[in-house]
């Protein structure tokens, strides 16, 4: 089992709490019409994001999907970054060019997903490959949903990584649903860990709502990757407690399943563990309160921050130059 110092254990708690509080604030802002575009929750899945990313070291690189806010926070991005992304502000890491968690640069430890699920797997294999070619010992970690494992890109990327024995950890987050599609309509495989067999890659299933178990599995996979043992596929069994996005009332989800999984809420569960281990309840309350205050003030700051300048829309397509905007006849004043 993972050996974590007490402060690290509290840090895990802090990240999970931040993940949750920040999302709750975003729901608020969404209802007020202040979030641009959709809002995707990770309620109930925070332990998976936080526990896996926490197993990485400085210099490692994560490729998160839209439900991996916890991983993004662990990598050092701030509530403000994420708020600015959702409110499409100039100060957001993507400068308003892209939405939600679609941002990142390798030197800041994060590579952006694109919406096309699966595509990130070969790209993260390439991150691992590029690093190895440069004799950097970093580990790449990426995520895929139960739905995403059905894509061709996932398959090609995982197979490629296995053949090349790349330092890549693939976290397959089995939250039971891909939008409205249940697991049994996604695949006839017994588990996502079974997908690993096809690549001759170690595969393991872990309780995705137990942050310490997740951390432990991730730590072992990261260690294997770093020491030349190649990629690992970790299936984290968890549950999507909200709809696909805020607009989705998830009427297709059986109520019993929801209450069953609500009882396994990863944050409450972890709090109980900490308390049982003797953590002073006030420490958790302090963290909660500090985060709540911080998220509020960050949100206010971002709300007051400007949108990007319209003309910046045509900048940055190529290393050189700006895209032309006006039709020739207008541009050239014939």
């Amino acid at each position: 089992m993972a050996e974590l110092a007490p402060e690290q254990k509290l840090e895990l708690y802090r990240f999970m709490r931040l993940n949750r509080t920040l999302e709750e604030k975003l729901v608020n802002l969404y209802r007020q019409g202040k979030v641009v575009g959709g809002l995707y929750r990770s309620l109930g899945q925070e332990a998976t994001s936080v526990g896996t990313a926490y197993a990485l070291s400085k210099g490692d690189i994560v490729g998160p999907l839209i439900r991996n806010m916890g991983s993004v926070l662990v990598m050092g991005f701030t509530a403000r970054d994420i708020l600015a992304q959702h409110m499409a502000r100039a100060s957001s890491p993507s400068a308003g060019k892209d939405c939600n968690l679609h941002f990142g640069t390798p030197d800041t430890g994060m590579v952006s997903a694109i919406a096309m699920l699966g595509a990130l797997v070969p790209v993260m294999a390439g991150i691992a490959l590029g690093a190895r070619m440069q004799k950097k010992s970093l580990v790449a970690m990426t995520y895929i949903g139960d739905g995403g494992t059905s894509t061709g890109a996932f398959h090609e990327g995982a197979n490629f990584a296995a053949v090349q024995k790349l330092p890549l950890v693939i976290v397959a987050e089995n939250n039971g649903w891909a939008y409205s599609t249940p697991f049994r309509r996604q695949t006839a495989a017994r588990s996502l860990a079974d997908r690993a067999v096809a690549y001759g890659m170690p595969g393991e299933t872990v309780d995705g709502n137990d942050v310490l178990a997740v951390f432990d599995a991730a730590r072992r996979a990261v260690e294997r990757a770093r020491t030349g043992g190649g990629p690992t596929l970790i299936e984290a069994k968890t549950y999507r407690m909200k709809g696909h996005a805020e607009h989705d009332g998830q009427s297709y989800v059986p109520g019993e399943e929801l209450s069953e999984w609500a009882a396994r809420d990863p944050l409450e569960r972890y709090a109980r563990v900490l308390l049982a281990e003797g953590t002073d309840p006030s420490r958790l309350h302090d963290i909660d309160a500090e985060i709540a205050a911080r998220v509020e003030s960050d949100a206010r700051a971002v709300e007051q921050s400007p949108f990007p300048a319209p003309e910046s829309a045509v900048r940055g397509v190529y290393a050189e130059g700006v895209a032309e905007v006006e039709p020739a006849i207008v541009r050239r004043r014939w």
Binding site: V36, G37, A88, R89, A90, S94, G96, K97, D98, C99, H102, I114, A115, M116, L117, G147, G148, S150, T151, G152, A153, A178, Y179, S180, T181, R185, Q186, T187, Y252, F307, P308, A309, P310, E311, S312, A313, V314, V317, A323, E324, V325, E326, P327, A328, I329, V330, R333, W334
Partner: protein, 330 residues
């Protein structure tokens, strides 16, 4: 028609659903497949209610696999079915590019086996969807012989063109502009009718210049035409409707009359449908053209997310008017 019937207007999205519904009723070979189209009724509710009516054999929720969705549709079409494959967003059609351009498009030519398949999905921006939920991928498919490409601008056309697409013996890519789903509506005539593939429609007659466009931009063009009218510029608006193969005769007729042409589309400029329209005009309207051709399009960038960026990016009536004034004064 009873007044009651007249009063009930059908939205663009409902028109699409009606087309599918009626075709599924009419022809048991017709079925739909895609991600979240059954139980959920589709991300935009296009297929809402179909599962209850037709059952899960004809309304099939699939894994998250665009290549398999189109591939399975192709195979079943070869067996004589009439599949309608949904791409949850048209942007994801990129994942089925090989299947569409290499398998579906070339089958009849290579082996004589036709592939009566419709691939449909929501395209277009204006809803702050960002770079991957706002694309206009139509031009990607206009260079592949064997395909047809359609994009309706009205509820009437949405229904009539989709029916025609379903009945077509060849693969049709059907792009629905998501901005229009709930924003345009009209009273549809009863009965069974189609809008033929390959025919453009003049949406507004005019003498001074032609605006050749399609999809949501038809409404932009009509807006612009109204403004221009007040300025004494009489614009004709041609809705291309079918983007491949183009209705060249309709283009010639309009440009032959007005002698000036704007090509307007929401997709980015270079290599867009507008390039082909321009080429047709350059080849076939030389004698009648009195001014340079003008393309009004999005600039050559991905679709940006933040509202001020997207607004700057998208063509609008004002940009069309600017181009039209330059052209009218030429």
């Amino acid at each position: 028609m009873t007044p009651e019937h007249e009063a009930r207007e059908t939205t663009y999205v409902d028109a699409i659903r009606e087309a599918i519904f009626e075709e599924m009723e009419r022809d048991e070979r017709v079925f739909v497949l895609g991600e979240d189209i059954g139980v959920y009724g589709g991300a935009f509710k296009v297929t809402d209610g179909l599962l209850a009516k037709f059952g899960e054999h004809r309304v099939m929720d699939t894994p998250l696999s665009e290549a398999a969705i189109v591939g399975a549709a192709v195979g079943s079409a070869m067996m004589g079915m009439r599949p309608i494959a949904e791409m949850q967003f048209a942007d994801f059609i990129s994942c089925a590019f090989d299947m569409i351009t290499n398998y579906a498009a070339k089958s009849r030519y290579r082996t004589g086996v036709g592939v009566p398949l419709v691939v449909r999905g929501p395209s277009g921006g204006g809803v702050h969807g960002g770079p991957f939920h706002s694309q206009n991928p139509e031009a990607y498919f206009a260079h592949t012989p064997g395909l047809k490409i359609v994009q309706p601008s009205t509820a009437y056309d949405a229904k009539g063109l989709l029916k025609a697409a379903i009945r077509d013996d060849d693969p049709v890519i059907f792009f629905e502009h998501k901005f229009l789903y709930r924003r345009v509506k009209e009273t549809l005539p009863p009965g069974d009718w189609v809008v033929p593939i390959g025919k453009a429609a003049v949406r507004r007659e005019g003498r001074d210049l032609s605006i050749l466009t399609y999809g949501a931009m038809v409404w932009t063009a009509l807006d612009a035409a109204k403004t221009l009218e007040a300025e004494g510029i009489d614009a004709e608006v041609v809705d291309l409707r079918t983007l491949f193969p183009l209705d060249e005769e309709a283009i010639l007729a309009s440009v032959g009359k007005t002698n000036k042409a704007i090509v307007l589309h929401e997709a980015t400029r270079t290599g867009g449908i507008g390039a082909e329209v321009a080429a047709v005009i350059a080849e076939r309207c030389f004698e009648s053209l009195d001014a340079p051709l003008v393309r009004v399009t999005a600039p050559d960038t991905p679709v940006p997310f933040s509202p001020p960026l997207e607004e700057f990016f998208l063509p609008n009536a004002d940009k069309v008017c600017r181009a039209a004034r330059a052209l009218a004064g030429y």
